[in-house]
């Protein structure tokens, strides 16, 4: 998945996406994207910045932040397991899952008891022992889509 071939393909796609989005293909953007594409560990902005420092000593951390945000806005990369900015909490400890509206960011709980019975792929046994599995559904809530129409 992270072999040179695949990274190369992603870079190709990346350049196409930039052209389509009218984003300039700068040295920094190319290197930031390449570094993320070959990473196995879902790095943070700061981590990417440090990894790129040898190759691009003049690169600044704020450019990494700005660039990642731009890439995310254009759907070229994803932000992982995060609701923007602040940490969010819940006291509901029974098994449940989340609906997240991509428009308004609202998180709604839902129940799906039969999901407990669904078996995960066997390969996961090689990873370790599983405690729980949760589903995150993303889409547009009715409120937001009716606002868009109206």
């Amino acid at each position: 998945m992270m072999d040179a071939e695949s990274v190369h393909g992603k870079l190709k796609d990346f350049e196409d996406a930039c052209r389509k989005a009218n984003l300039k293909i700068t040295h920094q953007r190319l290197e930031i994207f390449r570094e993320l594409a070959k990473a196995l560990d879902h790095p943070s902005a700061e981590t990417l910045y440090m990894r790129l420092h040898k190759k691009l000593p003049t690169l600044s951390l704020d450019t990494v932040y700005r660039t990642l945000t731009t890439f995310e806005d254009f759907g070229m990369i994803s932000r992982v397991e995060t609701v923007k900015s602040q940490a969010r909490f819940e006291a509901e400890m029974s098994e449940h899952h989340h609906l997240i509206c991509s428009k308004c960011g609202k998180i709604t709980d839902f129940e799906w008891t039969s999901f407990r019975e669904v078996d995960l792929p066997n390969e996961i046994d090689h990873w370790g022992s599983v405690n729980k599995k949760n589903v995150i559904v993303r889409g547009i809530c009715n409120k937001c889509s009716s606002l868009e129409q109206g």
Copy 2:
């Protein structure tokens, strides 16, 4: 789910959990927990702080942070859709899911193509339109559990 009855039950459980964990049941802790238990919107520390301000004018934001972290450490509440502190990114845009080790925090990708065919509960139709669904599996990776043994 968030009716007075259920909040009351959670408060009862909360007090028991505090006693079991040797945590003192302070006024602030009770109110912070109550506020979170009755919330429908997975609030942030800052949001809880603002909501509690009328009732507890002397409550400080850092107490809210400290308290939520304590509750989380003792498994009384959950942090939602978040990997601690920094935002994390990935360039893998094809459908995949995540394994997260609760010990070391490492995030590993896995494929589960047949999950696409699994139907979500029908009630979700009332929520809005779904774009994608992802699974987050939490547990302990082999590396961490062997370290624990050794």
